[in-house]
């Protein structure tokens, strides 16, 4: 019978999937088995034209195998759209570093990372950096981290401070922009700048995620089909109320998911 095994056509005698694993690999316990885009945990008989990936759990696979694993983990038919997408993340702090890593894990084909700052110790309370990154430009640190998570996506970096004068140029190739700044004036500048100068770009912004108030007050709001905003809208970071990882992560999750929804054609929250 003809099947496709690890991307290549293959003729085999009828047998079960686990038997196939025995023939080609030694140990089912150490093998991730993906059949027709779905990771299976139970044996069944092979059928004509089945597409099977047998992936060693302990090694980094090649690009095709990696893509097959992502395809298996996501809902069917979404992976190609995700792979073909491009997102800019403006600000690589508590929000942006989480969002970038989340979208990298998801397989977004191109991430455009923008920040002007370096990693310093007070960032470690909530930002996705480690001690080995201290002193590095955030763009470089995050790019290096992502290379260790999903090396098959494209990363573009800009180590620059955004201002009213450079928005048009910096974001010209980005259909979706994530506003992940800390400073509310910069948030307003970016949102106004993108939406005033570009009719077809979408921005997912953030406002209000400090402290440890209820998780349930963090929401995603649609202002219009180009402008979304995540957060509780009111809880600003200030003296006596800092930024803490859990609540910042929730807001980051909201933004990353809204960006994913836009990539997949869902424009409601």
């Amino acid at each position: 019978m003809k099947i496709i095994l690890n991307g290549k056509p293959c003729n085999i005698q009828c047998c079960s999937i686990y038997k196939l694993c025995d023939i080609f690999f030694k140990d089912i316990q150490k093998t991730a088995v993906i059949v027709n885009g779905f990771q299976i945990n139970e044996d069944r008989d092979l059928k004509e034209n089945d597409e099977v990936f047998l992936i060693d759990k302990h090694k980094m696979p090649n690009e095709n195998e990696f893509s097959a694993m992502l395809y298996a983990r996501h809902t069917p038919n979404v992976h190609q759209k995700i792979k073909n997408s491009r997102v800019a993340i403006a600000g690589l702090g508590g929000l942006g570093s989480h969002i970038a890593i989340s979208l990298a894990r998801t397989g977004v084909g191109c991430l455009h990372l923008i920040d002007f700052d370096v990693v310093e110790p007070s960032n470690l309370n909530r930002q996705q950096y480690m001690i080995c990154h201290l002193g590095m430009a955030k763009t470089d640190a995050l790019k290096a981290e992502i290379a260790q998570i999903n090396p098959f996506i494209q990363i573009i970096t800009h180590n620059i401070k955004i201002n009213e004068g450079n928005i048009c140029e910096i974001f010209k190739d980005d259909p979706i922009i994530c506003e992940a700044f800390d400073n509310p004036k910069e948030k307003a500048i970016l949102v106004n700048g993108i939406l005033s100068q570009y009719a077809d770009k979408k921005i997912v912004a953030s406002s209000g995620m400090a402290g440890f108030d209820s998780s349930n007050s963090i929401v995603t709001r649609k202002i219009n089909d180009k402008f979304y905003i995540c957060g509780d809208g009111v809880t600003e970071a200030k003296e006596g109320r800092g930024l803490m990882s859990p609540r910042v992560s929730i807001c980051a999750g909201h933004q990353a998911n809204m960006i994913l929804r836009l990539i997949l054609g869902c424009d409601n929250v």
């Binding site: 929000l95 004036k185 949102v191 953030s206 180009k226 807001c251």
Partner: protein
């Protein structure tokens, strides 16, 4: 009566978006305004007179991220 941030608001005659913002004591540097479905450029805040049946959303950004 205009609809501003989801509420029906009585507006005085010929008040501009800029005047309304100043009345509400909002900080111009941390807001974005959506006017009848589209972002309103800041340069137009002083010209745009709020009319009855206008739908306006004023987003006030707070710090943190």
């Amino acid at each position: 009566m205009a609809r501003i941030n989801g509420k029906n608001i009585e507006i005085s005659q010929n008040i501009t978006v800029l005047q309304y913002i100043e009345q509400q004591e909002l900080n111009l540097s941390v807001i974005a305004v959506e006017y009848n479905g589209n972002i309103l450029p800041k340069s137009q805040y002083g010209e745009k007179v709020i009319k009855s049946c206008d739908v306006i959303e004023i987003v006030n950004f707070v710090g943190g991220g």
